[in-house]
Subunit: 345 residues, 4 copies
């Protein structure tokens, strides 16, 4: 059994880690930390899990956490993560950080988007945890910078196509829509039911901090700097993210060329599903699961491709992918504990 | 491995059976039937399950179905079920019928609420599949009349209290609220998104056919005829049912008396959770799971009790309980394949 | 033109007052106050009203407000209202208070449910603003305690029946369901989209402060003390409230007797609509309007009646009824400025 | 008073026409037709409007309709409209058709997207009813092809910019999201609550029939053929449409250049609101109203502009604009009867 700890267990991402790990056959959740709820039973905060999860939250302590757990998931806001990570690595732990702190290779890009980085030296050691793409590095890693939800939905469909040089890099536009859980559990006017319900709107147009993250990783695929247009929108649903991506094709390709590029690249990777018959993927069909469903259409003129991807922002976009990375790091099947059959509705 | 078949697999209840059974470790889904979709792959109708379920739907045939499966779930509308059931029983199959056709002991009550019953002789053989209450009979049964969703939400909290004589039977009122999936997959104006969204209303006041079903079973507990007041309402959510029940107490009892009555009756039955601290249960906390959460408050005067129960109408209210019954009938742990950890959100 | 001021204009109730008054042909909004947003244009807080409302919020000041306005709506939390009201009345203003501070006749009941009352002497001067019931008193009033949303939905259908002695007072149960806007604009976990969406639950069972308000006013109708059972629930919709009321009939009455009791009592009052053919009313059909739709069913046994009422909690349950009261106080037609045609969807 | 008739009054668009026209101070609704509901009171189909609308639906008859009404709104599916229109024009009526039948100038484009056109000769007589753009033609028209909802949301923000030559025509991409009411009242699996709720997906990618409509009208502004990329998505809300448009700028322009282009073009047209401070517009802020709110951001590189528009698809996207056109055709202020103050929530 893998002994795991979750730092910051009571936010939405932390709770989703708990939910999935509680059902993972090879995992024992040994420690849950929470500043706000230290001493409180996790299932009084999330009564949904009564009878399934009976840990009591505790305050973070390097030694206690390290004693109890071998794999540590950090589900804290950025900036806090980099305070905890070095000490855990020093104690020989594997760390999977779900904040932005270890996603960037280039500290300057991180600092431009977030703030001063206090553990820069770890950035080269950290592996970007896009499970299907950086698998080999993840296998050897002891520090994972788990991808943001938007980058996951954007990079998974684009990476193979960029690598094969099929897209005009300068023309890439990603129009993304996220459910509200992506905003976290903190109460704010922006997440008030009455402000979101029956509403749809863009936000942080041209300024969202997931964009430089995408650009850096897409640049790896393209072999040159990438600067996409990215516009996030807020959807009145709890879970789910859809991204519609537009790009000019760099050469004449058929529908089956694109399909083959994707299916070859993702061969054997069960969480990536390419839809049949140009069917647009639906967030509802991946709700609560680790799937990323991808569909695409080439315009009649052959000039432009439209690619659509859907994920559950809390699962493949956060906790699920983190656990997939744990599986890969520990030599388990990547799908272990993650084979939730999706709802039909 | 238990070989199962699902008759009427493409409605919402059928699909929910498929979803849960696809993840059941001791089950093999061997046959799915559908009149409308015979010859069509199930996962083209429900693409959510691509990669998880790969059966093709077929037309119903007594011999083929009986050859492939030992336990048959019937997820057809009432009236159709009683046409299929006798032939399957004759072939030695165990039948779990999710329609109303085998829920009643008294054929007259069935016929008053539904229509002429063409297999009356089976009613005494059929066991009412309220898993926690009629467990012993279920163990021995080969025909289960799986309870309606509303009756499940009403009978589970009331049965122990009535049996112990704690309630004034004539004062019982159940105010129930159901998600839209209870109406099934058929397209109708009543289930049109724009008619349901931002709407709340009662329906079938005093005429819903689940009421005589409740009355008959509550009568078993009370030891005398029961005629409750029952009002269903339609909630603008997909899954979930909440019932608030009002009754005068027949004697002076404390909060802990009631609690003890319930916890004793349901001792060892993990799917029944009594909330702590008079916390009202929340449909969201049982979404997608087989739980029935129950909370209650005694009025300060001590005169009246208010009991609240929540279930997922498609799981504990239909497919989940059917599978729980299959587990009981086949000697498995009742929770086998049903330990879905609930979402926190 | 009636010159009006709104104290606390930026909460949801205040904003709804602004919305409706901005379209009122005989009203000029002369002053909007807000502690939080003093100096800020109202339409930057509520951009929906850009081009319709161009006032700038200001800090409250007795003299300034009294100079600019003749009718003052107070949309502040209880306790604050009673600090502002005496000074405004002294300056000869008409005050319509939407908090609980002036709803009770009996200060003891107020203090039991809320807190110490610092302007008790005004309680006998204040008129309870249930427009259709206390019309004559409202005409002469200069201080209105505008009813709570739940009491409005409960008292309107019950008052005529109780007055006529048709109900067994001790058996009255009100199962009420409210949209989220009733909780106000303040950010909290309880109103977070992800906690409400796809959720339904009771809250404050037996402890909600609207219950003593109902009891006091229903007591006026019944001519004796009333102590109903009241359970509020939270609906995942923005606007709307449905209350299903159960009561034993005190005598043998027909459907048309009840109908006549209601239609006679509400004769000429256009905002009360009694549904035809026992159709349960639907919150969607009163959304955004000042209507209260009422339906009812008598059980076949003739013993119990089930009454259903729906309102928009922000309109008939708050701002709309306040404006209706202003109309009555100032001699206008009660429907002036309130004839919004309801959406079909 | 303008005497109006509505042909096909009981669909969602028809009912929205009824709602708005019932509150229009210069209009008398004299005839409502419905094949399905001939002889039935409109307010039994839409009880929301009880007390506001008391007409009985009747079967269509050229002479009866023409006798009663001077302005006829046709809210029928395409193909049916062109059967009714010629006879009404012959009888000297003004016709505002909300189907696609009279939107195209080029019959070949219509026939490629829809079917054979049986009244081609009227296409040159019909005026495309985008109220703020073709105002002068609308003033003189007796036949209006009222725009589709998607084209309205796309053309309004783009027309001025294209006319001024500010955009690279070939790079235009419109990513649009519509509420469910756009699909109409007909029951179908696609509009079933459970299929839409908690779901988001694209549909008809590259094949939606509103695209050629947009292309034709944008071509008028650009002065050359236009062939945009258009992807519609289905939003889990009842009313509302947001379109995010991407285009490369053809020259170096500032934020204020774009702003000025838009505000100059729409000077004096109150239904077009340009948001301040690059704030993305929100569907909730135009719900139930005839507004089109537009926001935009120029990327830091200055290369690309992102434009966002929101409308209520049933109002500015259908019934509201139709009534605006009636106002213009009859010499009324274009906003007459359309000054609904938007909800704050």
């Amino acid at each position: 059994m893998i002994k795991v700890g979750i730092i910051g267990a009571t936010g939405y991402t932390g709770a989703e880690l708990v939910r999935i790990l509680a059902g993972h056959p090879d995992v024992k959740i040994n420690v849950l930390t929470s500043r706000q709820y230290a001493g409180v039973a996790f299932n009084t905060i999330y009564p949904a899990m009564s009878g399934m999860v009976d840990q009591v939250c505790e305050a973070f302590d390097f030694d206690k956490v390290s004693e109890k757990a071998d794999v540590i998931f950090i589900a804290l806001p950025h900036k806090l993560s980099m305070e905890y990570t070095p000490g855990l690595l020093q104690r020989g732990k594997k760390v999977i950080d779900l904040s932005a702190d270890f996603r960037f290779s280039d500290p300057a890009k991180y600092e431009a988007a977030y703030q001063h980085h206090t553990a820069k030296e770890l950035l080269s050691r950290a592996v970007y945890g896009l499970s299907e793409i950086f698998t080999e590095d993840i296998q050897k890693a002891d520090l994972i910078g788990n991808p943001g939800c938007y980058p996951t939905s954007v990079i998974l469909p684009l990476f193979p196509l960029l690598k094969q040089g099929l897209l005009e890099v300068k023309t890439i536009i990603a129009d993304a829509k996220s459910g509200v859980s992506g905003a976290g559990r903190g109460a704010s006017l922006a997440t008030h039911f009455c402000e979101v319900n029956e509403s749809f709107k863009a936000y942080k147009v041209g300024t969202h901090r997931h964009k430089p993250e995408m650009d850096e990783k897409l640049g790896v695929a393209a072999g040159k700097p990438v600067d996409i247009t990215f516009v996030p929108h807020l959807l009145p649903i709890t879970r789910g993210m859809e991204t519609t991506i537009y790009a000019d094709l760099s050469q004449k390709v058929s529908h089956s060329d694109i399909r083959q590029c994707l299916t070859t690249f993702y061969s054997g990777r069960g969480f990536i599903r390419i839809t049949e018959n140009q069917r647009p993927p639906d967030t509802l069909q991946v709700r609560g699961t680790n799937y990323c469903d991808i569909g695409f259409v080439i315009e009649k003129t052959g000039r432009r491709i439209i690619i659509m991807s859907v994920i559950d922002n809390l699962v493949k976009g956060a906790a699920g992918q983190a656990i997939q990375n744990m599986n890969i790091m520990t030599g388990l099947d990547e799908a272990r504990g993650l084979k939730m059959v999706p709802y039909a509705l």
